[in-house]
């Protein structure tokens, strides 16, 4: 039934691409042309803001085809019906409730052996190769420091390597100072309350991560949500906030904090940082940037979204990130001015009450950061950054060509491929798994109800052969499940674009000739 539906819809629905239900203003292809003609200039000159040179990535959110949307709702309806039926059967004792852990157990198979696995997060490391160096460091540190620290930073939990890591981190992200925490999630949720409170306003992107949402709520500040990456909506809300002040009393806000992510984990879009910085300066707001998915993975030096847009790190007031993805460790950090970090050190919740980061984890982060920075004396880190950038473009272009609806920016290694129908979510995951490809699928409530997707994350450890294998599998299953919904013209970016090749100097050789 669904199969026929897809084809019919394709003919019947006008191709209104480039803007997605409610939240996007990018026109398909237009941004791409702009990038070429205007040499990547932001067109904010009319606001009296200096135009800043930065790459404008191709970004696209194709609208859900109408018929697919209808079918999806129908699918959920059937699902709910069966759910109730199942509950009824459970009550009558005819069947047992499902056990969640069963699916989790299967995962172990993957760890190292499968040839083509799309990793759930953008790690730049492939374990087999890195073992020798990084892991040796971690092991040595375990011997030196043991495991847990058993005390908080305010008490007796300051290891010498904590300081070393914080100094190196500050250098890496280009700020005056930095501070580390034991958990990425808690870095957001327990530090935002120290920065803002009652009488302050948080302007939060509608797609911000759960930790940012929780942090905002815990802080007690007023929260207003702006449309995803929409500069117009942000400016409207900022302007109104400054002009009208707090509701009812009309007192001016104490501070306004704009909270955004570098790469949005579910949309694969890159934040429009230069414009946000311009707005923030114009209205004197503060900027909180969560680089959980972008640090180490974006930009010609792997230093995150600030590096990608060539912005000044001091323009971002609070630079937050995690060590779980690109550094293969655990925990999170906040970097910024000396004043900010001193304040956080003295009054951050995590700093006072949580055990500090264990030594071996710190060692892992230190070593991988040194490699990315090239401080280990090799160009291994640079090669990985470029490989990841190349992988991203290549993989995204191929997916577009195959006709999948792919969200997000051309340079984001987080790649959401739209599935829509609830029945296909599980099938896609299982078919891929059967063929040796591990993918993550996400449905409602993590996404809007009609926008279920598979989130693919690329790693520098993937070679072109692995990507091709993965693409073949996705191609095959995509046809089988008729997931190739896209009616938009294939975007024109590619891994061969000259600007792209200028930015990333050590792109892999496989790009030449073979493709």
């Amino acid at each position: 039934m669904a199969d026929e539906g897809v084809d019919v819809s394709a003919v019947g629905v006008p191709t209104r691409n480039g803007f997605k239900n409610g939240y996007n203003s990018y026109k398909n292809g237009q941004t791409n042309q702009e990038a070429k003609h205007q040499n990547g200039c932001s067109k904010n000159g009319k606001n009296g803001l200096p135009p800043k040179i930065h790459p404008k990535p191709f970004e696209m959110f194709e609208q859900t085809p109408l018929l697919i949307a209808v079918l999806t709702y129908l699918g959920y309806g059937i699902l709910i019906l069966f759910g109730h039926l199942h509950d009824l059967m459970c009550q009558l004792g005819m069947t047992k409730p499902p056990v969640a852990t069963e699916t989790v157990k299967e995962v172990n198979l993957l760890a190292e052996n499968s040839t083509a696995s799309i990793w759930p997060h953008t790690i730049i490391w492939d374990l087999p190769k890195m073992k020798a160096h990084v892991l040796k460091q971690a092991k040595l540190t375990t011997k030196q420091y043991g495991c847990g620290v058993c005390s908080s930073r305010h008490e007796l939990g300051n290891l010498a390597i904590h300081k070393e890591l914080e100094d190196l981190l500050a250098e890496f992200v280009g700020t005056e100072a930095a501070i580390t925490f034991g958990m990425g999630f808690a870095t957001n949720s327990l530090n935002m309350p120290t920065l803002v409170g009652k009488g302050c306003l948080i302007l939060s992107d509608e797609l911000n991560h759960a930790s940012l949402v929780l942090g905002s709520r815990l802080s007690g500040a007023s929260i207003r949500v702006f449309k995803h990456n929409s500069m117009k909506d942000l400016e409207d809300k900022l302007r109104n906030a400054v002009i009208f002040g707090q509701p009812r009393t009309h007192r001016p806000w104490k501070k306004i904090l704009i909270v955004v992510e570098g790469i949005f984990s579910m949309e694969g879009s890159i934040v429009n940082l230069p414009d946000i910085i311009a707005l923030k300066k114009k209205y004197r707001a503060y900027l909180y940037l969560d680089e959980a998915h972008s640090i180490g993975a974006l930009g010609p030096d792997g230093r995150g979204v600030v590096n990608y847009y060539n912005c000044d790190p001091s323009d971002v007031d609070v630079m937050m990130g995690t060590f779980t993805k690109s550094f293969g460790g655990a925990g999170g950090y906040i970097a910024g001015s000396k004043k900010l970090i001193n304040y956080l050190r003295a009054s951050s919740h995590s700093c006072c009450y949580a055990s500090s980061l264990p030594g071996p984890v710190v060692a892992q982060i230190l070593t991988s950061m040194k490699i990315i920075m090239g401080k280990d004396g090799t160009d291994d880190g640079m090669k990985r950054i470029c490989q990841l950038a190349w992988n991203t473009r290549y993989f995204r272009r191929r997916l577009h060509e195959m006709g999948f609806i792919v969200y997000g920016s051309s340079d984001s290694p987080v790649i959401p491929v739209l599935i829509y129908c609830p029945g296909k979510i599980a099938s896609f995951s299982r078919f891929c798994y059967e063929r040796g490809l591990a993918v993550v699928v996400v449905g409602f409530p993590a996404t809007p109800i009609i926008e279920s997707r598979s989130r693919l994350c690329l790693s520098a450890a993937h070679t072109k052969e692995m990507l091709d294998e993965a693409l073949d599998i996705i191609q095959e299953i995509g046809s089988k499940l008729t997931m190739k919904y896209s009616r938009a013209p294939v975007p024109s970016f590619s891994e061969m674009d000259p600007e792209f090749r200028v930015r990333y100097k050590m792109l892999p050789d496989t790009a030449n000739g073979k493709d």
């Binding site: 969640a100 852990t101 157990k105 172990n108 490391w125 374990l127 890195m130 073992k131 990084v134 971690a138 092991k139 375990t142 030196q144 420091y145 043991g146 495991c147 847990g148 620290v149 005390s151 930073r153 305010h154 008490e155 007796l156 300051n158 300081k163 034991g182 958990m183 990425g184 999630f185 920065l195 991560h209 930790s211 929780l214 709520r217 815990l218 002009i243 806000w253 104490k254 501070k255 306004i256 004197r284 503060y286 609070v318 779980t324 993805k325 550094f327 293969g328 460790g329 655990a330 004043k339 001193n342 304040y343 003295a346 919740h349 009450y353 264990p358 071996p360 984890v361 892992q364 993550v440």
Partner: protein
């Protein structure tokens, strides 16, 4: 047919009447006196004016220029206030750095100290056999082969997104077996464990009864839950029962609402701020009597209390089935990282989809998980660790309480003791300064102590300033004698 022909006739009659009315009106107007007409005209003009005049509101909107001025004038507060660079915490972070393992001794800035500051109660952190299980030779059994070699350090994903490694499941199973519960759920951060668990169950409109002396993590969980919170006085059962009774009365008045309201009681096994136990047997009685669910935080009591380290329930000899949810930390007694919640499957399982810290955070690094597995097996194989610990606590408690001028807070079997000034002044800062001096002097003599750290403005209740002594099973009686004599000495020196 007749009816149809009658209609136009009727219509013409009515229109003729209407025209007649109009004619009469005009006649009346012409005959009316002119002052009357004038008056009516004035009234009509007035009404029109009232209708079309610009409303007052429209005048209130700001012009673009005014808006620009407002924007220009607005000056926000600085993002953060300036902190004194001499702040002891900042100084410590820069200059009081540990190098090497944390155990009975600790190496700070190249000098070795006797350690009664780290919450390494069983001496698990730094044990050679734990390291072995995560780093090198320990490879007899297939399960524990060289974790780092096998998995690397980070797990790079939340549990639901390919972040589950077999060792996570192994630890969960082993802990469940150890605690005698159906299910265990692991968190990657001790502080986030109970603060994620509470809002997973208690929502807006629900009621939480909570001891006012609970630790910071619980306090954050309470805020996140957005439930109605009643604090009762620390360990005061009468106060609690009063609140429960008041709630019962209210429920009777509004049974419809009471039906959909969940009631929770949140307590700590061993209070992190006071070092005393909760009166669990009485609390369990109240729980059954007033139908509330107990959430128990065993951050400190897990692995330290009871004959086998199962915590406060074992200490009191209460079946763990009475406890609806228990949260504990692996960061203290187990010397690893993270925490866990345990209880019945249908309770705990709920967190796998709604525990924020579980769903959205990367899982614990596998190497630290194996370290916890190893710590658990060490604890099970060496029950004498706990007897040693309890013996040490009794010994140090007795010795410390003999010091003149200082008061010991905590129980004789609590691994965490608080030393307060016996005669505190009204000035908190002054007391803190005295205690800090004691800490500094002790450090000069080779014993590392710490002041219990609190974020004073954020805490719900603030205990008096105190030096916190964490007792470890590793300490010998000689060590304890030395610690006590150093503290005594330093105190007398400071005061005199």
């Amino acid at each position: 047919m007749a009816g149809v022909s009658a209609d136009p006739v009727d219509a013409s009659v009515t229109s003729r009447e209407a025209a007649w009315d109009l004619y009469e009106m005009i006649q009346a107007c012409l005959q009316a006196p002119s002052y009357h007409l004038l008056f009516e005209a004035v009234l009509i003009v007035w009404i029109i004016q009232l209708l079309f005049v610009k409303s007052y509101k429209a005048k209130a909107t700001l012009t673009e220029k005014e808006k620009e001025e407002l924007i220009e004038d607005w000056r926000p507060e600085p993002l953060v206030p300036e902190v004194d660079p001499e702040h002891p915490v900042l100084q410590d972070m820069e200059n009081r750095l540990i190098d090497g393992k944390i155990g009975r001794h600790v190496n700070i800035n190249g000098k070795t100290y006797l350690n009664v500051a780290s919450m390494n109660f069983l001496g698990m952190s730094g044990r050679v056999d734990i390291e072995a299980s995560i780093s090198t030779e320990y490879s007899q059994a297939e399960v524990a082969i060289d974790t780092v070699k096998k998995y690397g350090v980070g797990s790079c994903g939340p549990r639901g997104f390919y972040g589950t490694v077999d060792v996570h499941l192994e630890l969960e199973d082993k802990l469940a077996e150890f605690m005698g519960v159906e299910e265990v759920i692991m968190y990657s951060y001790g502080l986030a464990t109970i603060s994620s668990a509470i809002p997973a169950y208690s929502k807006r409109g629900d009621i939480i009864f909570c001891d006012e002396g609970v630790n910071f993590s619980i306090q954050k969980g309470l805020v996140a839950s957005r439930s109605k919170i009643y604090f009762f006085k620390h360990n005061d059962l009468e106060d609690l029962e009063g609140l429960l009774k008041a709630q019962e009365r209210e429920d009777k008045q509004n049974p419809k609402k009471a039906k959909v309201t969940r009631r929770f009681l949140v307590v700590e096994g061993l209070y992190m701020k006071y070092g005393d136990f909760c009166p669990l047997p009485k609390l369990v009685e109240l729980k059954w009597k007033y139908k509330v669910r107990i959430f128990l935080d065993e951050t400190l009591s897990f692995g330290t209390l009871g004959a086998t380290g199962r915590g406060i329930t074992e200490h009191y000899g209460i079946s763990i089935d009475n406890i609806d949810l228990m949260a504990a930390s692996l960061e203290h007694a187990f010397g690893s990282y993270g925490g866990f919640c345990c209880g019945r499957s249908y309770v705990v399982d709920h967190q796998r989809l709604s525990g924020l810290g579980y769903c959205f955070s990367a899982s614990t690094p596998p190497m630290l998980t194996t370290a916890a597995i190893k710590a658990l097996s060490i604890l099970q194989e060496n029950p004498e660790l706990l007897t040693k610990l309890h013996d040490n606590i009794r010994y140090i408690y007795e010795k410390l309480s003999k010091i003149n001028g200082l008061r010991v807070m905590g129980e004789t079997v609590s691994p965490m003791l608080f030393l307060q000034l016996a005669g505190p002044s009204d000035n908190r800062e002054l007391d803190k300064a005295i205690l800090r001096k004691i800490v500094q002097k002790a450090e000069e003599q080779g014993v590392v102590l710490i002041l219990a750290a609190y974020l004073e403005e954020e805490e719900h209740t603030l205990p008096p300033p105190s030096i916190r002594i964490s007792v470890s099973a590793e300490l010998t009686h000689n060590d304890i004698d030395r610690v006590v004599s150093v503290i005594d000495d330093c105190y007398q020196n400071t005061v005199s």
